[in-house]
């Protein structure tokens, strides 16, 4: 596939992600940061995020599975998740964790678990999406093109 086409695909894909709420402005900002110096920055950050959150999610799952749920711990985990996801701008995860947090406050275990499921789903989705995105980028770079920057216009 030629570079131009790939670039277009990438742009479209990014746009889609943005519209669907998977990403938002922050991500673009991150991308811009990347350009300036560190080429693999975004990938690095995102993978770091995914690793961390995976751990977090596991912790959360086990915490919720306990007979007596320690909500404060759960809460802090979720808070962290929220923080990380907002840094890289994974909107949906952030929103889902927000909802999760509310449930925590209400100490509603069931709702929490359901929410957790949802978060996990979002998480996997986001991960897939971003991975695809990165793959595309890699392809472009491999083909010798440069990664097109999405205008923050929209």
């Amino acid at each position: 596939m030629e570079v131009g086409q790939m670039q277009r695909r990438l742009l479209d894909y990014t746009k889609t992600l943005l519209m669907e709420g998977f990403l938002d402005g922050q991500f673009l900002q991150l991308q811009q940061l990347q350009d300036e110096s560190n080429p693999g920055f975004v990938v690095e950050v995102v993978s770091l995020f995914f690793d961390d959150s995976e751990k977090l999610l596991n912790d959360l799952t086990s915490a919720l599975d306990q007979p007596s749920v320690d909500f404060s711990r759960v809460d802090s985990h979720v808070h962290q998740l929220k923080g990380s996801s907002s840094s890289i701008d994974a909107q949906r995860i952030k929103n889902a964790s927000l909802a999760f947090r509310n449930f925590c406050e209400e100490q509603n275990v069931e709702a929490c678990q359901r929410c957790l499921q949802q978060i996990k789903q979002e998480y996997y989705l986001a991960r897939n999406n971003l991975e695809t995105l990165f793959r595309l980028e890699q392809q472009i770079v491999a083909a010798g093109g440069s990664i097109p920057m999405l205008e923050m216009g929209f």
Binding site: Q29, L33, N38, V45, S76, H79, G83
Partner: protein, 695 residues
């Protein structure tokens, strides 16, 4: 502790981190205001320490900060951060810390840093709840950022460093022989600071220049130039030992100084450190204790003011909402009430407002400032300026009043801004009190009374939080000069076209306690009231979306306001919101139709509603904004000065007025006269000013 003689060497010209080589006492990085100003490389090279347990965030932050050309050190544990800071006393200029950390609470870290190193600290969190932010403020954080942190926000953190230096310098100067015009009180630093902030950047820069000059002159006398004292751990321990020895009650700086017997340490250093220490102890023993104090002191105006302010704001808004029709008087009263409270001069401000009838068009000059504004008692209560601390009042009220004249016709442009400025600036804004600065300058006569608002706004702007509120006020006020029915609860027709120049860029809206108040800033542009409608909306309602709407409408006098008024709820600080909503709504309905000549109606509309609320709560502030708009029949500057009308209820909180008033006034005037632009600049508070209130 080594007061460093090197200070001289450092000289201001060398602001950069290179000064750090001097290490020792010299203020970290040797940033001097002068240096800073002189150094055009600044803020590049600012040494930032980032603390966050989340690695992702940490990485992103580091990268972003690097992109701002800062020198970044990151660590993910608070203890590591503390030890880093202790090792290299002057190794950092500013610290960014997360709130939630597993090993140590972010606030505790904040306290430690404040006591030991006295560096500016910015808190960050995903959590944007008011309580948490409040905690940040009380613990002495310079600022509070919400994650995800944008690069623009990080680009500006250097201001905290400069600000702190400036204040310290001032302290030093005070203790020294340096004559500094502005250093009225060290304790009142906050107020001072805020006021200065309010007054506009020009003032600050002026002060800075003074400082610079002074510093340069004293190049050699180390005694004159007192470098910032760094309270190292041992020094602090010595201090604590001395205090304990004397007994916390009997611990006076002089004795402590003697006991410590550290060469080079001055009484003033000890005094200021003692103050901090006392606050710290108080905080430890219970926030409740602390708060009451706070409210009274400017130092923590935020805390204190919140309560009262809220009430005030609510009142104002209510009045506003009640009926845009509210006679200016009522508005004024509301304002007065609001202001009265907020103003440090409890009695003064408020009554003035009421009396002022800012709105009362009949009264040529609603003199708010005199605190006796109440004279206005008749119709134009709108003295939105109520809140404005005395200083403002006189000046601003006058301005406002001019405009207020037209109260009858709703022109009341409550220029309460002027008054509000002072108040709201620091706290008002934060408190969300609707310090109806909106001094409803009912300028029926089309006077640009609104000017005040602009000036007022400035102070308001100071409190970022407040900004939101202020903007509100301004908005409502401005637009609605005409038929702006004074939202007075008291049924005073607020018509004051609360010209509160919504100029308060985001800060002014007292209602807005949210950090996002900065919206006002955008609105600040209000001042330019062009006929087109309340520009103010664009200008002052920073946070208020409503205002923006209002502004758009400008033409419609109050109709627009409806939109704007809505801001109340959101904009207004928690408490106020309810009030404001009411007011805003009210205003909308009422005043706006009067579309005062398309003016500022936006602002006024908003204000109006606020006023109609008659609640007298801060809404007035909002009104002011609107008022301004209104007044301006003149399409000119609708200055919606989001003056914060200090809620009468919040007696303490409205202190900000003091500082801002003058600035506001000037801002207002300026705006009115010229393109409101200038006023805007002044108000350019991003609300940070309040943040710097040292604890």
């Amino acid at each position: 502790m080594t007061l460093n003689q090197q200070f001289c060497e450092m000289n201001l010209s060398d602001g950069k981190g290179s000064m750090s080589s001097v290490s020792s006492v010299v203020s970290s990085a040797g940033w001097r205001a002068a240096d800073v100003v002189a150094d055009n490389q600044f803020p590049a090279g600012l040494r930032v320490l980032v603390v966050d347990d989340d690695t992702t965030c940490l990485l992103v932050l580091e990268k972003t900060l690097r992109a701002c050309q800062y020198e970044v050190t990151k660590c993910n544990r608070a203890e590591i951060a503390l030890s880093l800071l202790r090792e290299k006393k002057n190794g950092y200029d500013i610290v960014l810390s997360d709130v939630h950390m597993p090993d140590m609470d972010g606030f505790k870290l904040l306290e430690h840093i404040g006591l030991e190193m006295d560096l500016p600290v910015i808190m960050m969190s995903v959590d944007a709840g008011k309580d948490v932010v409040m905690k940040g403020v009380t613990h002495g954080a310079c600022d509070y950022l919400i994650k995800p942190v944008r690069i623009e926000a990080l680009k500006n953190i250097w201001q905290h460093v400069v600000r702190k230096r400036k204040n310290e310098w001032k302290d030093l100067e005070q203790s020294g022989s340096i004559e500094d015009g502005d250093r009225p009180q060290k304790q009142a630093e906050d107020a001072d600071y805020s006021s200065s902030v309010n007054e506009g950047n020009w003032r600050n820069s002026k002060k800075r220049k003074d400082e610079e000059e002074e510093v340069e002159e004293r190049d050699d006398s180390s005694t004159l130039k007192k470098p910032r004292v760094v309270w190292s751990v041992e020094l602090h321990q010595q201090f604590v030992a001395a205090v304990n020895q004397l007994g916390i009650d009997k611990a006076v700086p002089k004795k402590i100084l003697e006991l410590m017997n550290v060469p080079g340490l001055t009484r003033e250093n000890v005094a200021s450190h003692l103050q901090k220490y006392r606050l710290y102890l108080r905080r430890l023993s219970g926030v409740s204790q602390h708060q009451p104090n706070l409210s009274n002191s400017y130092i923590n105006p935020h805390e204190a003011t919140f309560g009262p302010m809220a009430s005030l704001n609510g009142l104002d808004y209510q009045t506003l909402s009640v009926t845009a029709q509210l006679p200016a008087q009522s508005l004024a009263t509301l304002q007065a009430a609001g202001f009265g409270r907020s103003n440090t001069n409890p009695g003064v401000s408020m009554p003035l407002v009421d009396q002022r009838n800012l709105f009362s068009f009949e009264n040529p000059k609603l003199r708010f400032g005199d605190g006796q504004q109440q004279q206005m008692s008749s119709n134009k209560q709108m003295n939105l300026l109520h809140g404005i601390p005395t200083t403002m009042e006189t000046k601003q009220l006058a301005n406002l009043h001019h405009s207020a004249q037209s109260f009858g016709t709703m022109n009341m442009q409550v220029n309460a801004h002027g008054g509000q400025r002072s108040q709201s600036n620091s706290f008002l804004m934060q408190m969300g009190q609707p310090q109806s600065r909106g001094q409803i300058l009912s300028e029926t006569s089309g006077e640009k009374v609104l000017r005040l608002p602009s000036t007022m706004e400035q102070p308001i702007l100071s409190s970022g939080l407040a900004g939101g509120v202020l903007s509100r006020n301004g908005i409502g006020q401005n637009g609605r000069a005409a038929g702006y029915p004074p939202v007075s609860q008291t049924s005073a027709t607020l018509n004051l076209p609360i010209n509160h120049a919504a100029e308060f860029p985001s800060n002014s809206f007292p209602i807005r306690s949210t950090p996002g108040i900065c919206n006002l800033t955008s609105k600040g542009a209000f001042q330019e009231e062009d006929n087109s409608d309340i520009k103010g909306s664009a200008g002052f309602i920073p946070s208020y979306d409503i205002f923006t709407d209002l502004q758009q409408h400008k033409t419609h006098g109050w109709e627009l306001q409806n939109v704007g008024l809505t801001f109340d709820p959101s904009q207004l600080s928690n408490s106020r919101q309810t009030n404001i909503d009411a007011t805003s709504l009210v205003l909308d309905s009422q005043g706006f139709s009067s579309s005062q000549s398309g003016r500022n109606g936006n602002a006024s509309v908003v204000n109006k509603s606020l006023y109609s609320a008659g609640v007298g709560t801060q809404l007035v502030n909002a009104e002011n904004v609107g008022q301004r708009l209104n007044n301006l029949h003149v399409d000119n500057s609708i200055r919606v000065k989001a003056e914060r009308v200090p809620d009468p209820s919040c007696p303490t909180t409205l202190f900000p007025e003091q500082f801002g008033q003058e600035d506001l006034m000037s801002a207002l005037l300026r705006q009115q006269q010229g393109s409101m632009g200038p006023a805007e600049n002044e108000f350019d508070f991003d609300g940070y000013s309040m943040d710097n209130i040292p604890v």
